[in-house]
């Protein structure tokens, strides 16, 4: 080629060689990006330590164990037993999972395995739109639509099935069930999206093999898709659980904010996140009260951290499993 002129040297340096300053640019670029990545790790560690020191006054005042497991939240008497909040958080999250996960998995299965190809895209977009509605709007809708419209039905349910545990008695307007229902709606898009992702990694071989053996569509789903995707779907449900535990504003608006443990499903309650949103204003000048709220935040942080870590592990493994199988030679054009 013409580029290979005899004059390959200019100023003693090959034209193929970069100048010393140009050679420095690459490592600098790398250091910059590594620094940004390190910043994220540093930030998380910093916040964590800072939150602990700020929660310290309350934790030493109340004791860590007593903070978590005493059933008495009474800031005016400086008693901070967060058990009713912990229970409220767990109950609402459990309701959300019981209602939300089956619907989300059904949606994911329908979209990936049953729906005609043409409606898959639009259906996916519609389900994802649920995630575009902000928490505060769900709360607004919950207060002014869901609570009044559902109350007669809840009362009927409560009267008819009063022989069941945790059912019966007067229905409060805002209650655990309403909060759980709103949470179910809010976790639906993420649980559905991740389930869909995991289900789509099920190797077509498995599905085709079961169909070839004479399975119906449902049998194919039950025997090939679900067993394969089970751990991934579990991970998706756990990510939903993490969301449900930390969700604040919608729950604050519809749970009634009463720091007691309700006796039944339709009683008022409180959650860890809601107490932070409600009480931080009055707590600003009270180190111990503020500390108790920071401690509540710390519990939320650790809880969601652990749940998410486990869930991500499950989902990543499920997806990897799909990938390694699909690259096996002979799987065709997939």
């Amino acid at each position: 080629m013409a580029a290979t002129t005899p004059d390959v040297r200019t100023g003693g340096r090959s034209i193929l060689e970069r100048s010393p300053s140009a050679r420095r640019a690459d490592p600098m670029f790398r250091v910059l990006l590594v620094g940004l990545a390190g910043l994220i790790l540093a930030l998380i560690a910093f916040f964590f330590v800072y939150l602990i020191t700020k929660a310290q006054p309350a934790l030493s005042h109340q004791g860590v164990f007593s903070f978590l497991f005493t059933n008495d939240w009474n800031p005016s008497k400086a008693i901070y037993g967060a058990w009713p909040l912990v229970v409220g958080t767990l109950i609402t999250a459990a309701i959300a999972l019981v209602i939300g996960v089956p619907v989300a998995v059904a949606t994911a299965l329908f979209i990936t395995e049953l729906a005609p190809r043409r409606v898959r895209g639009p259906l996916t977009v519609l389900v994802e739109l649920l995630a575009a509605v902000p928490s505060v709007v769900y709360g607004l809708w919950g207060i002014f639509v869901l609570i009044p419209k559902l109350k007669p039905a809840e009362q009927w349910f409560s009267d008819t099935f009063s022989f069941l545990p945790f059912i019966g008695g007067n229905v409060a307007g805002p209650n655990y069930f309403i909060a759980g229902l709103i949470l179910a709606i809010m976790i639906l898009p993420i649980v559905s999206a991740i389930s869909r992702e995991v289900i789509s990694t099920v190797p077509p071989d498995l599905k085709e093999a079961s169909l070839a053996l004479g399975a119906t569509r449902w049998e194919m789903i039950r025997m090939a898709v679900l067993p394969y995707a089970r751990s991934g779907i579990t991970g998706a449900a756990m990510l939903g659980l993490g969301r449900a535990i930390g969700e604040t504003i919608a729950v604050t608006l519809v749970i009634g904010n009463s720091p007691t443990i309700g006796k039944q499903l339709f009683d008022q309650g409180y959650t860890l996140a809601a107490v932070i949103a409600n009480e931080f204003g009055e707590a600003a000048n009270d180190k111990i009260h503020a500390g108790a709220l920071f401690a509540a935040g710390l519990v939320l942080f650790l809880l969601t951290l652990v749940i998410n870590a486990l869930a991500r592990g499950l989902v990543r493994r499920a997806e990897k499993k799909g990938q390694t199988v699909t690259v096996v030679p002979g799987t065709g054009a997939a």
Binding site: L51, L188, R312
Partner: protein, 292 residues
Amino acid sequence: MSAATTALAPLSGRRRAADKVMRAVLAIGTLVALVPLVLVIYYLLKKGLGAWSWGFFTTDPTGNFLGDQGGVKSALLGTIEMVLLASLIAIPIGWGVGLYLVEFGRTGRFAAAVRYFVDVMTGVPSIVFGLFIYVTLVLSGWGGSSFAGWKGSVALALLMLPVVTRSAEVVLLLVPDGLREAALALGTPRWRVTMKVVLPTALPGLVTGSLLAVARAAGETAPLLFTATIVNGTTFNLGDRMNSLPVQIYTDVGSPNDQLVQRAWGAALALVTLILLTTLAARLISRRSRLS
């Protein structure tokens, strides 16, 4: 081979029925999932449109106990200002970390740790990010004020950061290695390959992911509640307290005043419209991407 014995028995009526029933169950489940969406949109339009008027968008909340309550101008502008600043913080860092993970950190322990914590951060409740900023920046009175718009932006940025990073990583991984190798083979230094080849190729996807993060941040109440709080007046000074649509809705909902509740519906419709427009823009841009 005993293949015949392991194959399923001929299709019985019972199996056919089970198939029909379960298909119906899955279809109904999907419909059930869409019911709340339809209901929320229906009520937003029904109650929110009535609140909309020219004055609704051009007047600040008055804060009067009785009488005219004003509109949502300061809240709308505050949301836009704070989300813009949050984007300016979160998007460059997020893209940078995404670039690191794809260009330099495909293997290695440090990269694995970063990837892991970014994943985990996506699940940290937004109120916890609000608390972080509250204890570090607000309580200490950083920058001469306790509550400030820019502190709200930082809280929103923290929330956006993992979303931006994750989506950036996914998109950057789609850039074919052949492109990188071709540029490197021409003698281009790594940073130029990244800036001139990888980034431009991935740009539509990067913008889409970032816009989705913007849409998420715009609707968040909890991180702003105790960082930027709420005021009535419009301000363009990010060092002052700043109003926002979500916080405005949250406080209006809690009031017994019908006019304020009406305003909350109007503001909610405005907020959802804003978010949907951002999401729509994100989808349109992703169509232009040549990666898939």
